[in-house]
Symmetry: C2
Amino acid sequence: MTGRPEDGSGFRLTVSHERVTLPNGRNVNLDVVRHPGASAVVPFVSDHDVLLIRQYRHATAGTILEIPAGKLDPGETPEACAIRELAEETGQRAQRLEKLGWIWTTPGFTDERIHLFAAFDLTPVPPQLDADEIIEVVRMSLDEALDRVWRGELTDAKSTVALMHAAHRLDRLR
Amino acid sequence: MTGRPEDGSGFRLTVSHERVTLPNGRNVNLDVVRHPGASAVVPFVSDHDVLLIRQYRHATAGTILEIPAGKLDPGETPEACAIRELAEETGQRAQRLEKLGWIWTTPGFTDERIHLFAAFDLTPVPPQLDADEIIEVVRMSLDEALDRVWRGELTDAKSTVALMHAAHRLDRLR
């Protein structure tokens, strides 16, 4: 991910303390994490195989299995962000991107939306990791990735939803 | 949801500014929203029909379609939270709860985990909404809910993942 302080520090969270008038007329105080949005990608390296990443996440106190993803830079389109993050994190440039949809990650306290894509026709480029990104690229079949969801071994929300969308419309995507 | 200030104000976000030593030895600053965790429930009112809620969310600037959910009270188990939130938001008490799994909602900046359940054998109780909850209960078939996911009309991450898990193992759940 880019758009970070020069010292390699992570995302500075912007919490907005807001006085809100609800549609029912009540006034309440609400804290919202205002977020620039993000893109996440299911990268297909063959008809059946995808690339996941095993990434260290401080918030989870360990490594978790995810699809490549990252925040939108200022002015960046979701498509450009998806292609950039995929290249940075996995060293693969996508020649073709297909929309899978988007999610609200956790609308109770943030306006973060993640745009979901499938990527095809990949060619190698040098990966570029940020100082706080510790990533191992893992290749497996889409079926194996889905099995890991069902077994509770792949628990990242954006990755789960993107893999489901990819599997649902795979015949039309390829 | 409960555990809120008396004036009906929403969740006070706790952002933790942390100096972190990563597994690669680098020191970075990371902001993390420390969250108590939450439960979310797919409530089955018949063999095929579920209850969703259409809820006003300030962060999304409008209403979105979700499954009933809410934060864990201090000391509360995920199961007790699921049963309480389902009753408060939909006026239905579950006699049977089945685990579907859990998700990291957005591990880049929060440790929030949502525990996912399916609920069965529902009996009516009085709903109890908080001051900032504006909720309409919507009954539809599980198939219709999934179609809304595929069409991009149901975009809440926890709801999407929980509905997929419920559909995947429905024969064993019922």
